[in-house]
Symmetry: C2
Subunit: 109 residues, 2 copies
DNA sequence: TTTATATATTGCAATATTACGATATATTAT
DNA sequence: ATAATATATCGTAATATTGCAATATATAAA
């Protein structure tokens, strides 16, 4: 006892958690994958592809956008969404640093 | 019109989303990082480290365990939790496949 | 200007998550 | 057997997420 629990979370922990949370839904995983398989990444194509109503897709896109994972630009009356690769690269770095800290000989299970 | 939205989610999309969701909370990020920085990965040490009550930590550990990210073994009256590196490696593979599908020349924004 | 198309926002119901006090369980120490 | 320690579970309140119908906005087409 006597140990004070003063530690809160670091900015990096919070930002990483926000990004992973944004990707932590099958519809949003599917959206990201769909965007990458299309040359034209138009919002309406996602609505036609996924089994969700248009407002729900719009909501998921907003969450991905808020987390910085995608960005959108207006293309006439449509909106084109694209991946931000830097965020994905940051996540890969995060997991790789986890793996580099992993020492099997220290594991008790 | 005429396009039926028959597609649901694949098993991989669902599993990946579950794992990312499990990591999508700063406390669970902190837990994973803490486990990797300790040789002895004892649950009670996490309780002393993080600014959360013991039942809350227990609940977060359960979610990480359900997602397969950690596993625990009984060590006397304590429980030792460890990372499952395969799950992290799977996530790195997932993000790398996203990056390999990313073609800047196809992006509209 | 009217109509059609594409997307966003609002409002709302159902469900899930988060956090914790109280309590249960299980092991160890006395 | 009793007490102490470590962890899990239960119950519950507060909040967040998910999904959608209805509606608003904005651009393009007629």
């Amino acid at each position: 006892m006597g140990v004070s629990k003063t530690s809160s979370y670091t900015e990096i922990q919070i930002e990483t958690a926000n990004r992973l949370k944004a990707l932590g839904h099958p519809a949003r995983i599917a959206i990201v994958q769909f965007l990458l398989n299309q040359k034209e990444c138009i919002c309406n194509d996602i609505v036609n592809e996924l089994p969700l109503a248009q407002p729900t897709i719009s909501q998921h896109l907003k969450e991905l956008k808020n987390a910085g994972i995608i960005q959108g630009t207006i293309e006439g009356k449509a909106i084109c969404y694209c991946i931000n690769p830097k965020v994905i690269k940051d996540l890969v770095s995060f997991f790789n640093s986890i793996l580099s800290n992993f020492h099997p000989e220290d594991q008790c299970c």
